[in-house]
Each structure stands twice: as structure tokens, then as C-alpha cells.
């Protein structure tokens, strides 16, 4: 299955989601290709950090981008059980190219107006790419959710009005462990004394993507 973690807003936590899903997917024995299609190359840095610290890395990380990404992924697809593509927070040829071959498009949104205002642009990309890739399923969720207040619920209710993607009801909180674990080259599920809530939240997303969205 090919999963793209994207959107058109920077700083929504795309790389954190992509790397955590990669670790979790490969830990159950799946042969995973993590494709870094973001110019910031943060996913590659995560894998490099892990290698540098001598932690076992069961997946393969490559950097691809631009219009050719589509052809390269189609060529690599038979060699892997799962491909996870981390695209940057801009509407680029890389993002569109990835969506032309994707099964699932994961859209993390922060519960803030600037993030929610990108809905129109995201809708256009999805509807464009669905004309060519009719198997594409887009899901959005609130990432870095606020611990209190009504912003999360308000953002969810706006996202749920969109017809191009499904908005998930669960959220992933703005938890420190997501930041600290990546620095250690680990997923939140691998750290010593894991934050149970963070593990539960990322597992909920993982289960949704790899069980309920199975193609």
C-alpha cells in the first residue's frame, strides 16, 4: 500500500507522522520504503540519526522528488509491502506525483485558522488527482491537538464539512515525546517509558490506515 503524508502547510507534523508509521509498520515485519520527497529532507535525517546511533533500521529510506517520482515509485512498488511518502508542505510536482500512485493520502491539520484555511487548496489537489487515480482515499485528522479548549472540536467540525476527504474523529495531541523521540531516532512507541497517550493516539491512526483503509 502506498501512503502519502502531505498537505500544503508547513509545520503540521507530516514527518513525525510519516516516520512513526514507518517504524511501526516495519516492526511488524513489513518491508517498508520510506520516501523522502520533502526538500527539507527531515525523514532522511531521522533515518540517518537512527543509523548513526546504531539503532536497527528495518526499512529503506530514499530521496525522490519532482515529476519523475511517479515513475520511480511504480518501479519500486513490487519490491516492498508498503511505501510511505513524506512530501513537503507545498503544492509541488512531488506531492501531485506521489498522489498519482497513492492509495491513502494522510492530511495532518493543526487546530488553527491558518491551517484550516488551506482546505480549499487541498480539495483542489485531491479532486484533480482523483480524476486520474480513482482509488485515492484522503483522510484528515487534527495533529498537535490542544490539551484543552474548543479549538480541536471546531477544527474537526469544519474539516468534516469537506467532501474530498474524510475527517477522523480522533486527534493526536501536542505531546513532547513526539519531538524528543525523533531526536533520538526513535518512534514514540520505542522510547524508554513511553507516553501511553501518545502511543495510543499514533496506534489509533496506524490501525485506521492499515486495517480500515486496507486495499
Amino acid at each position: 500500500m502506498i501512503v502519502v503524508v502531505g498537505g500544503v502547510k508547513g509545520g503540521t507534523g507530516k514527518t513525525t507522522i510519516a516516520t512513526n508509521l514507518t517504524v511501526m509498520r516495519s516492526s511488524v515485519g513489513k518491508k517498508v520504503l520510506l520516501t523522502d520527497a520533502d526538500e527539507q529532507k527531515s525523514s532522511s535525517l531521522f533515518s540517518a540519526q537512527r543509523d548513526g546511533l546504531g539503532i536497527e533500521t528495518k526499512w529503506v529510506t530514499i530521496q525522490l522528488g519532482g515529476t519523475d517520482l511517479r515513475k520511480q515509485i511504480m518501479r519500486l512498488k513490487p519490491d516492498y509491502d508498503d511505501i510511505i511518502i513524506d512530501v513537503g508542505g507545498r503544492e509541488t510536482t512531488s506531492q501531485r506525483s506521489a498522489l498519482s500512485v497513492a492509495d491513502i493520502y494522510i492530511l495532518p491539520f493543526n487546530p488553527a485558522s491558518y491551517d484550516i484555511w488551506t482546505i480549499g487548496q487541498v480539495n483542489t489537489i485531491i479532486s484533480d488527482m482523483k480524476t486520474l487515480n480513482d482509488k485515492l482515499k484522503a483522510i484528515a485528522f487534527i495533529n498537535r491537538a490542544d490539551p484543552r479548549g474548543t479549538d480541536n472540536e471546531e477544527a474537526i467540525s469544519i474539516l468534516q464539512e469537506c467532501k474530498e476527504f474524510e475527517c477522523l474523529k480522533f486527534t493526536i495531541g501536542n505531546r513532547k515525546t513526539f519531538r524528543t523521540s525523533s531526536g533520538e531516532g526513535l518512534s514514540v512507541t520505542e522510547v524508554k517509558n513511553p507516553d501511553k497517550k501518545a502511543v495510543q493516539e499514533i496506534t489509533e491512526l496506524y490501525e485506521y490506515v492499515y486495517s480500515k483503509c486496507t486495499v
Binding site: 526538500e39 529532507k41 519532482g66 515529476t67 509541488t92 510536482t93 512531488s94 506531492q95 498519482s100
Partner: protein, 84 residues
């Protein structure tokens, strides 16, 4: 007549994909010269304040060279000319 051939789904060509993908902004990989392409060298003059603006814009494109940024700008301009 009640027996008809099934309607064939319109086949999507690689050109259809390329056209849709090209709606996105170009990235470094789109503009870097292919190994088999020869590069031409030119003398290029640019007002220093414009160059400062380029360098400022470059800060948002981590890992991109100044040369690649200028090439991208030329690509975008050529694309507009082609669409006229």
C-alpha cells in the same frame, strides 16, 4: 437493440498524468540538469539588491542552490510563455 457492448473506461495516458502533476510547483529534481544534457555557461549580471532578494527567498527552500532557484524561475517563465 437491447444488447450492447460495455462502455469502455476512458484510458488515462502518461501524458494526462504529467499534465496534472505539472500543476504543482517545480522542485529541485524537476530542474536539475540531466546527466546527458550539456550545460551552457553564460555571464549573467543581476542587480545586487535583486540577488539579496533571491538569497532571502532561498532561505525558505532548504537545500536548494542559488543556481537551481534561478533555473526554477526561468522554467516557470518558459512554462507561462508556452501556455500563451
Amino acid at each position: 437493440m437491447v444488447v450492447r457492448k460495455p462502455i469502455e473506461k476512458e484510458k488515462k495516458t502518461e501524458a494526462d498524468f504529467e499534465k496534472m502533476i505539472a500543476k504543482g510547483a517545480l522542485v529541485h529534481e524537476d530542474i536539475k540538469p540531466k546527466e546527458d544534457k550539456k550545460n551552457a555557461h553564460i555571464n549573467f549580471r543581476i542587480p545586487s539588491d535583486m540577488l539579496n532578494n533571491v538569497d532571502e527567498a532561498l532561505k525558505e527552500r532548504v537545500g536548494m542552490s542559488r543556481n537551481a532557484w534561478i533555473l526554477e524561475a526561468i522554467h516557470e517563465k518558459l512554462k507561462k510563455v508556452e501556455q500563451r
